[in-house]
């Protein structure tokens, strides 16, 4: 295990974070960052009492307060539950209740609080006087406690809470960094990064840990809609992005506007598969590329910084991570593996078998040990924004319309499609129903196109609707 707080303290006057509030740029040194974490911990205990073992949700867009609350909760002895605020209020409310959430941190008093009894705003816990001499408790005392619980969509039912213990999260230093920093763990040259990955996503947390550990100066993109504007107005060396952000930035390159990408020298992607033509756009413009592969359940599994011969691979296993194929499925044994799903023994037993996490990804390994993803064993749609979507969940919503006899939700060209079998006379009504349903669904779960089938849908031998026709 390593001690993140020691890494923060070692950087002293170096700038840790930059962000823009009300048109003004604010900078925070690592020293200030540490003091703010301690004061935030103090503020949390003033309101909630001892937070040891308590589950505290955070439901905000990325912001400095989020990056302070996260270590304040974790090193204060609590467990943080980052919330995907794009999800529906109903789903989030159920998730948080099932996760025994005792308090929630929200942006301001106008924000949704999902029925959680103790509601704290960012201002409540992140108003800093700098007056006290606050300290964190002995955070390494119990490494077997839950430190982080991110919810991830499974193939069936509601999202499941992935229990990452303190010892999993800090098992080893993370290196979500450019090639030269991965190859030389002692390299300490200041690196300007921009945080675009949401902190409710495992990769966002890994960016936070990697970049703080390596003393990077991180610009915080607080509004996803402003990513292009942030790139245009700042200078960056590196970012780790979802394939969706890579595509967005790639379109600047297609339009000959490389000068609007902040002079970025290297970019990495994670969270979902990426097309080679997008990677090529960056390479052609002299921007190097790294790929990181992992799951919420495992943390990072592989890095690939060979953007020459192995550009389509997800890379080689990280340090002491063990990877093998069992019936073609990628399985992982690592100290960063989670302890399972919160209060869900059955799903945990399916996930972890004989100490190996079964990823649900089908893989191939070449003679040099490079790993390639060739398909999905589990029925899960993974979109370029890094979101995991369960087709069954959307199909359940569609079946609320009784005119729909059969349906199958699938992904095509990074969009969600629904194939529906129904009487032709009902098609118009079903289209209207889907339009209304889309208004209620989170933006990433919207059905982009309905395809009507003239016959009933193909079934498996067991009589279930076949997922794929190939």
């Amino acid at each position: 295990m390593y001690d993140l707080i020691k890494e923060i303290l070692a950087r002293k006057e170096r700038i840790a974070y930059r962000y823009v509030r009300d048109g003004k740029e604010i900078t925070v040194t690592f020293e200030q960052y540490y003091k703010n974490i301690c004061e935030c911990y103090h503020n949390l205990t003033e309101r909630l009492g001892d937070i040891n073992g308590k589950h505290i949700a955070v439901a905000m867009n990325n912001c400095y307060e989020y990056l302070v609350a996260m270590p304040a909760i974790i090193f204060g002895g609590g467990a943080i539950l980052p919330v995907n605020i794009l999800e529906s209020v109903e789903t989030i409310s159920i998730i948080l209740k099932k996760a025994d959430t005792c308090a929630i941190v929200i942006k301001d008093s106008e924000s949704e609080s999902y029925g959680i009894p103790n509601v704290l705003t960012a201002k409540d816990i992140c108003t800093f006087t700098g007056q006290g001499d606050w300290e964190l408790p002995n955070y390494e005392e119990n490494p077997d406690r839950i430190a982080l619980m991110i919810h991830t969509s499974g193939t069936t039912g509601r999202p499941k809470g992935v229990m990452e213990l303190y010892k999993n999260l800090f098992y080893r230093k993370k290196h979500d960094l450019p090639k030269e920093y991965i190859l030389d763990p002692a390299k300490d040259d200041p690196l300007n990064t921009i945080l675009t990955f949401p902190l409710y996503h495992q990769v966002g947390v890994c960016c936070w840990l990697s970049w703080v550990t390596r003393g990077c100066t991180t610009f915080i993109n607080e509004n996803p809609g402003d990513i292009l504007n942030d790139f245009k107005n700042n200078k960056f060396d590196f970012t780790l992005a979802t394939p969706a952000v890579m595509k967005l930035l790639g379109k600047r390159l297609k339009r000959g506007k490389v000068d609007e990408l902040g002079g970025i020298k290297s970019i990495g992607s994670a969270g979902a598969p990426i097309q080679k033509d997008i990677i090529d756009l960056f390479l052609e413009n002299g921007i190097s590329y790294v790929q990181i592969y992992g799951l919420t359940e495992t943390g990072e599994i592989t890095y690939n910084y060979d953007d020459g011969d192995h550009v389509t691979s997800v890379g080689l296993p990280i340090e002491d991570t063990k990877v093998c194929l069992i019936d073609g499925e990628i399985c992982v044994d690592s100290g960063t593996n989670c302890a399972g799903y919160y209060k869900n023994e059955q799903a945990t037993d399916e996930l972890i078998r004989d100490g190996w996490i079964h990823t649900g990804d089908l893989g191939a390994i070449d003679d040099e040990g490079y790993i390639y993803i060739v398909g999905r064993k589990k029925n899960l749609i993974i979109l370029s924004g890094g979101e995991n979507v369960s087709p069954e969940e959307i199909e359940e919503s569609l079946y609320a319309n009784e005119a729909i006899k059969e349906c199958r939700v699938f992904e095509q060209d990074d969009k969600i499609y629904a194939e529906i079998f129904a009487n032709e006379s009902d098609h118009d009504e079903i289209r209207d129903f889907v339009t209304e349903l889309n208004k209620k669904l989170p933006i990433f779960k919207r059905i982009y196109r309905v395809v009507f089938s003239e016959t009933d849908l193909e079934k498996t031998a067991a009589g279930k609707i076949r997922r794929k026709y190939n």
Partner: protein, 77 residues
């Protein structure tokens, strides 16, 4: 034609790299222009910046066509 159509079309063209000829008032944001959710958020943010008219995330879910965006901008001015 609303003065805002040109601004909206210009932003969509620039963000999503879609030819201006393919963008008209009736274009469906999802079905015709095939904009991703991140592109939509970027487009709305750019339009807000250019027009100084705020578009809330709540509105984003209600827009189906280019005309819907133009209508909100018209209503504000």
């Amino acid at each position: 034609m609303s003065k805002y159509f040109d601004i909206v079309a210009e932003v969509i063209e620039d963000v999503a790299d879609i030819s201006r000829d393919e963008i008209n008032m009736d274009s469906s944001l999802m079905d015709d222009l095939e904009l991703s959710s991140l592109e939509l958020m970027t487009i709305f943010s750019d339009i807000s910046r250019k027009t100084s008219i705020p578009i809330s995330n709540k509105n984003i879910l209600e827009f189906e066509t280019v005309a819907d965006i133009v209508a909100v901008l018209d209503a504000h001015s």
